[in-house]
Symmetry: C2
Subunit: 194 residues, 2 copies
DNA sequence: TGGTTCATTGAACAAGCGTTGAATGAACTG
DNA sequence: CAGTTCATTCAACGCTTGTTCAATGAACCA
């Protein structure tokens, strides 16, 4: 599945499609779904608005294409090590949050499609986390962990909270460690069962 | 500052204004700023769109009026008790989250005005929290606490995460307790500093 | 080379938006 | 009661939006 011949029609098309996709991703990420206009995307990609429609069908489809590039974090942990894996994943994501993921987050509160994407990803992630938590309320605990990660990510990357944006990923992860550990450990049940 | 005479012109105006404000709040909360239309608000309030403009000036001003009703959580805590007060405040807010606050949250990622409101409230709240934390990185800790609260609130009320929406406020607060406590306590420094 | 495909453009459409300003008629004021 | 205020409506403007469709010209294939 190599790139088509340079200068060929197919290659030119791919170049243009990618330019549009890039411009769209940038705009969706920067201002969200509603404030992004086909015209602005086309202009940023140095292309006619009609071409955007011709290639991607509709604004909604274009949005779908952009957010389809969002990697869904996979996580499979064994009980006891769950907290560390969660923190490691969070650290990694804080260091380099992909544009597609942030685009979804930016639009999730106003765009049903984005909300659904977030919901689906959250459900998968929560299921994986919950299975590693030895507690009756594992689902709730996983949901809270998810909420915490969501809040930190939004504050840091979208709201650009000064304190959070300036701090290093490991520093933030360190501060979250006690809470995540407690959430992933399950209920305390007196001194060392067994 | 009693209500004006019933049936009077002033009273009638107030009634209408309130009806518009209610409809606007509901719409802003439900679908956010961009998807809310003056026409829809007017229709819901059984009023002509022109009247909305006449009374509130512009859509942006109407939005301002709605979010001006959002209570800013005040918090002044002494070191050591900070965590409990934070958790108490969070519990309270989870039990009855005011529409205005949720409206701001809904729009904060796409509307600059809402983002500013969130930022301002967050800054004030963080300052209060930080002052009660005995640590060099108190600001960062306060920011993380804020982010956690933000994430939980969004997940619960806006994303309607099943697990979180079904759980009781106290239950969630209980799960959050270890993390918040650790954040508000400052760095551990060996066994019981005297 | 001649015909077809297709990337790309330009102009336009219909719908919806926020917003305006004149018109109406009932509530006020003197 | 006459005159003014003002809550409310109606119709319209100008703009932007997503979207469509015919036209163009270069790349492709036989």
């Amino acid at each position: 599945m190599a790139d088509p011949q340079p200068g060929s029609r197919a290659e030119q098309r791919k170049r243009t499609e990618d330019r549009i996709l890039d411009a769209a991703a940038q705009s969706f990420f920067a201002v969200g779904y509603e404030r992004t206009t086909i015209r602005a995307v086309a202009s940023a990609a140095d292309v006619d608005p009609g071409l955007v429609m011709h290639y991607f069908g509709s604004k909604q489809d274009l949005f779908r294409r952009v957010i389809a590039a969002a990697p869904v974090p996979e996580l499979s942990a064994e009980p006891g090590r769950a907290a560390e894996e969660i923190l490691a994943g969070l650290t990694e994501r804080m260091a380099a949050a992909p544009v597609a993921s942030l685009t979804i987050l930016r639009s999730m509160l106003t765009n049903p499609e984005a909300a659904e994407a977030v919901g689906a990803a959250a459900t998968r992630y929560q299921a994986n986390v919950a299975q590693a938590i030895p507690a009756a309320d594992a689902d709730l605990r996983a949901a809270v962990i998810n909420a915490v990660i969501l809040g930190v990510t939004i504050s840091r990357h979208l709201l650009r909270s000064d304190a959070l944006a300036d701090a290093g990923p490991e520093q933030i992860a360190e501060l979250l460690r006690p809470g995540i550990t407690a959430l992933a450990a399950g209920p305390e049940q007196g001194p060392e069962p067994e």
